[in-house]
Symmetry: D3
Subunit: 317 residues, 6 copies
């Protein structure tokens, strides 16, 4: 297995009409979850990925498992909880460019993940463990589950990748800052956004923020700078990598997960850091041009077309 990841996935309801959701009669559904987005992104790029989670014993849980399994992600470690429901999430398009998210995830099945759910052998069989700052915010039990997974990774030589993914609604600022800093310290590779970096270490330049993460314990830091691209820092090198231009942002949600999938696929492929970041930028950009969190994740040939601006015969522009 190339990468194992761990986290909550929900059914995502999107009103068919924009504006205040009170007027929405019809909704369409997708599935969404930061970590499964990354897993699907990696699978689509040809990597072997596993996703650990807990689902409710309900139709929404079946849907999520089937969808992720259908994408070629290993779901053998997913458990089913008879006592709690699968989480839901509503994405309200208030105006073009203004989204409001509402969650029904409190006490969800995934929030009941436990350290005992983690099979050390499964973690040990992977080259990378990917975790985010969402899971520890779900519950104390989830926090411990993440720590356990990291511990298993470390003692089996599995590289730990951490994406802070700050969710202010889920916990207090104080607790969030403390845990995100703690997990950043334990990770080998960190993928923070500039806002998240400032939340943890205070306002500063990308160079200084990256150094903060480095000094805090990470070997490789890739700092996302939005449309500007990203800044990377390792023992060997550092630098800025420009983002790809996007004609029209259709749906920004999932861009960070696409970035993570792009970077991780590059890391798995053993690319140089600037090439890793460039791939992250490309996948992140591609995700924003399609509605949904995972629908825009590219296969390797579409990614190459996009990165190299190769004109394709089968596409009419």
């Amino acid at each position: 297995m190339d990468v194992v990841t761990l986290g909550e996935t929900m059914v995502l309801f999107t009103p068919k009409s924009s504006g205040l959701m009170r007027y929405a009669g019809d909704f369409s559904t997708k599935i969404a979850g930061a970590e499964s987005n990354v897993a699907i992104g990696l699978a689509r790029l040809g990597k072997q990925v596993g996703w650990i989670s807990r689902l409710g014993n309900d139709e929404f849980g079946e849907r999520i498992r089937n969808f992720i399994r259908g994408e070629g992600v290993d779901v053998s470690q997913v458990t089913v909880d008879d006592t709690a429901a699968t989480g839901l999430y509503f994405k309200e398009k208030l105006t073009p460019g203004e989204l409001r998210l509402n969650y029904y995830r409190q006490g969800s099945a995934a929030s009941r993940m436990a350290a005992a759910d983690i099979d050390e052998a499964y973690i040990a069989g992977a080259n990378f463990l990917h975790v985010t700052g969402i899971t520890p915010a779900l519950s104390e039990q989830c926090y411990e589950t993440v720590l356990t997974a990291i511990q298993y990774a470390k003692r089996n030589g599995v590289t730990v990748v951490f994406d802070p993914n700050l969710r202010r609604k889920l916990w207090s600022e104080e607790r969030a800052r403390k845990v995100l800093q703690e997990l950043s310290a334990q990770a080998d590779i960190v993928l923070p956004g500039i806002d998240e970096a400032e939340f943890i270490f205070g306002k500063a330049t990308p160079e200084i923020l990256a150094e903060n993460f480095y000094n805090n314990g990470a070997n490789k830091v890739i700092l996302k700078l939005g449309k500007q691209g990203a800044y990377y820092l390792s023992a060997e090198s550092s630098g800025f990598v420009k983002g790809f231009p996007v004609e029209q942002v259709v749906d920004p949600v999932g861009a960070g997960d696409g970035f993570a999938a792009g970077c991780l696929s590059g890391i798995v492929d053993g690319l140089a850091l600037p090439e890793i970041v460039r791939r992250g930028n490309a996948v992140g950009a591609m995700v924003t041009m399609v509605d949904g969190d995972v629908e825009g994740l590219p296969e390797i040939n579409r990614l190459n077309y996009f990165m190299n601006k190769i004109e394709r015969e089968d596409v009419e522009r």
Copy 2:
């Protein structure tokens, strides 16, 4: 005010395709709640009705309030809870004639209703108080809220109408039996279904079950017998009233609430008990011929057409 009622209303999601909900891509939404169904049914029949509840400070709460207010029901006693969400409910059509219901209502805003939400003057201003056995099952606090409302009704000469509305998923059998019996005892008028009556008093004939309720404290008992119609019992009279034939049941959910609305409207109009029951049967039947809980509730002229089988000029059959 003719009637005041009290209870939780949720946004109802219905998959656009039948079968296992895991395959449902699109959902349409309505609103549903036993007590607001009754309130809307009464308003449509020209009665003055008020509905007491608590909603989340969210778009779903706005939708519910606007819809019920739009139907002409007074919503001045509805409170908004900043700390809890409006409840949701999913209606899965497994096969023709087999529905499965899933709730996201645990810890909902309505489950946080409190005795202090009830304004005694508001209750006192009504002729009837309608409550159901769903509300006390939501939370301890809700149970006390119902008791408080009944207490206010009793000391202000307001007639109490109780519909058991057994929801097995919400509480234990033991607790349900105890509370439903207690509330039946406090009510002047009870509207149980035959299954509910047997749940409370054990298997018996309609006559004996009705007598059980009567002996338990109710003045008027109207026992629903499904397609067969209903049996009524009061100090003055008793008897069976046949149901109306229904060509095709489109959606059975809400039939009991329609029955309650029909009966209550007859009670408000001072009809004789057999006429009251006949109206209940008719409204209940009409509700089942339309999709949704409230969409089939009739206005008085449609009800009369239906009850009297008058051919209408504006309808093509």
Copy 3:
């Protein structure tokens, strides 16, 4: 040209959900008009048909003309009125088996048809003129237009076919009775329903009602008896023809027009009266099994399959 017909066609709006139309958020549209239904039915059975009408100078008019022309009906005699709109009509499915129709056709373009719209040479070029009792109910001018068309037919040896198609909402009972009787008298062939026959001549048996029409001036009378089939009467013969069984009525509207199209196609083909009626029964039955007025009109091979219960290889039951 085999048949020329004359009348109003409207855009038909159907709510996507059943029940009271106030709750309908979405509507789908079709086109509908008794006479164009007949014209399309005939064209589908391979006959040469022309349709005379007036449309508003608007998108709905364009839609109607294109649809009917697309079906292979000649629309060269259709005029466009810059001063009035194309009529609309709403079909509300109250319950299974109960439809309510609402019209926005007052002062419509078609209600402004005028005698001058009728080209005598066009009528003369046909073998049959088909008119209904709807057109004279639209306006005084429309009444005169129908009379003019009949006059042109008569003096050019064109057989006149009349379908009463009583629409109570459009005119007074008295006026309706007078005009339907007048037009029945002028027609060579009449296709009344039993209700319409009783409306004109009073309650009686099918045999007597048919004789009434015959004595009133028609050569051939085909009296529709609903599911029972039809009764026919001419100088040569008379008798009952049983209807075809229909597994499930999906939409009854348009059945009478299908019946007319079936009969007329048989008349054009020179069939014997019982065969003509049998074809009318079959087309009428087929129309009721499909949603929409014209969507169920069969081509000749599907009609033959249906009439002869031939098992088809390309259909899975």
Copy 4:
């Protein structure tokens, strides 16, 4: 009551596909009417509003009344007309940025409003009466109804607010100019657009046009200048207020009504004229970013966020 308004509301049909409406198979529906748009805008901003109108005795009338009542607007003065239908209106999106509107409102229930519909006590109980130039264009009777309402307002010290809302299709240029000028003269506050001002007084600068209205009788003139914002003039002050930038116009219809609602809410709140205009600009801008006439009308907290560009925690951009 803070504000009473008066006018026609219709059911609005929007094709689900853009381009020529002849190709539109599906339509979605909303409700729309300049004056009820203003009423809903004010109710959403927390004001007490009443709406006077006449509706057909049909499902579309029920829908309109329920929707507006649901929004918290008082509809106790709405009458139902058994002899005329509720008006309809079709909004065709020809291309991005090009809308074509088609009405079925001739002889509608609302066009039959009469002076006798207006209850002087109801007008007297309000602080403001809002009328537009659409109502007098509907019929002579409607024109007199507006005059009557204004007369009642004036003799009861109720401030009259007039929005010209020129609809060229509904009346002749000459008549329109005469009546709009007459009503502008009777109003205390006028809210014309620059095009309407030029239509009434001839081409001129905003300053001169505003002065024309002022000299014509209004105390306060707020002249809408489209994207540029607005110009205001009163005895005390005058000036330009810049509009708010709009990222993407989704649906421009209803912007003027939003502007009126914003201004009126500011007037009710006793703000200074520049602040009143700024609020009008903001609400007008917000309405254009959402599909539908009323769906984008903000509640006070969303309005404040927008006006002050406060970043909200619950929104993801």
Copy 5:
């Protein structure tokens, strides 16, 4: 692996409106294929299943693979063909109870399956090989592929199950009869329908037809008799098993595949022949009550509820 199956799967387009498909503006899509239906049915009942096929290198191929993999079926043996497209199929609902199927499968990727696609080790690793009479009808190459698979099964002790699944459109009667007879002879277990049995062996009683198959080489014969149920015959026993009553058939397509899945699951579980058949009857019945080929396939607990008519608490009837 319990069962391996082999065959073509297509994307299934269903018009959103019934009647002639020429009027259908909108289509919804599912996936369908006799053998993958069986595979999914088995997976849902908890069995280990593999599906061998060939897909086009296109989005429809991706969709099919993801869906089937998502259901828990092993797709490791599916190949992708760069030179041919994935097949499509259109299901036209002419009237209630009358379906017409149209295929775009000529020269499809699956029709290019080749004997070399079959990995003997993969077949050898299963307990059962399931094949149908559709695959040999697709192309000569497909015919040989099936023969090869059967040969591998036989020499590795894998039981061969054959479902004739006659498709008249795909080949000549003569060729069909010859090949179906040949494959029936090679199979250990055959699952013909009564019509198919008569097609192969001529009109006869179920008992005689079953004997024909038995004498032809099969050990176990299960003969489907539609609503009547099925007749079974083996060396040890024979008999009729009654079908389950179905309240309303929503979509009959896929019933035979459900029957096969039910029987096969019983065979895998080592049930007695009458119990095997009863399970086939039950799954077949359940499939017809839901739209789509696979959407009604039950999980084991739903199957048990259905077979034992156990009332479930979570379902409202």
Copy 6:
């Protein structure tokens, strides 16, 4: 007849959601074909047009014929092929501005058009014959059909108009270049795009490329330059004509066909070459502002509004 054209038309399926088509559950359908697009464009501009083609004996064939006939195009020369299906085509919106087209047209009914389908008298009765480079790419037989049609045109004095419409997927580069050059040589008027011109004659300036076509045999060359407009060349004159600005491209497909329809209508009307080209530019631009190939084709008054930027009263911007 003004113009006769000849070619394949398909049913066009468009996913209702953008992104990879594997996730599309719902599709809407239209019809599309380069030559019928031109025919419809001409009919809408008031010209007499005929369209020659072959359709499958299926519902999709019926739909195409009805739609095109409905637009007022003569379809009397369309033949029906019992042995082949009507072609389909899928338009996948990958991202805003990136379309991918997938065809199911191999062996389609239209690809079986034959020289014998062409009625010399029909061609002789037209003033112009329009052909494109798509038809000869469908099959050898189609290539000969085009040659036959051209031959009939030439010997009957009918002007031949040729639009190269290069489709790389349908044939080899070599063959395509050879045939397009051959047909360009036979045409009186050619309408190539700049890319197509370079494909045939090699990279060069518009002036040189136009001259190449002229020297190759065409009298009039109109070279499309995308947004820049077009360059024209004849014996009498040459020059550039600027394109019309387009606010937002909704769907670029069909623009070239709109251009051809615009030019041809100008040619039929005997306009000067710059005016002809200007009309082509205008129609091409208008087509891109509406979804679908033919839905944006203008009637003459809308075209005039657009070309002259006349403000219309009935449109709200």
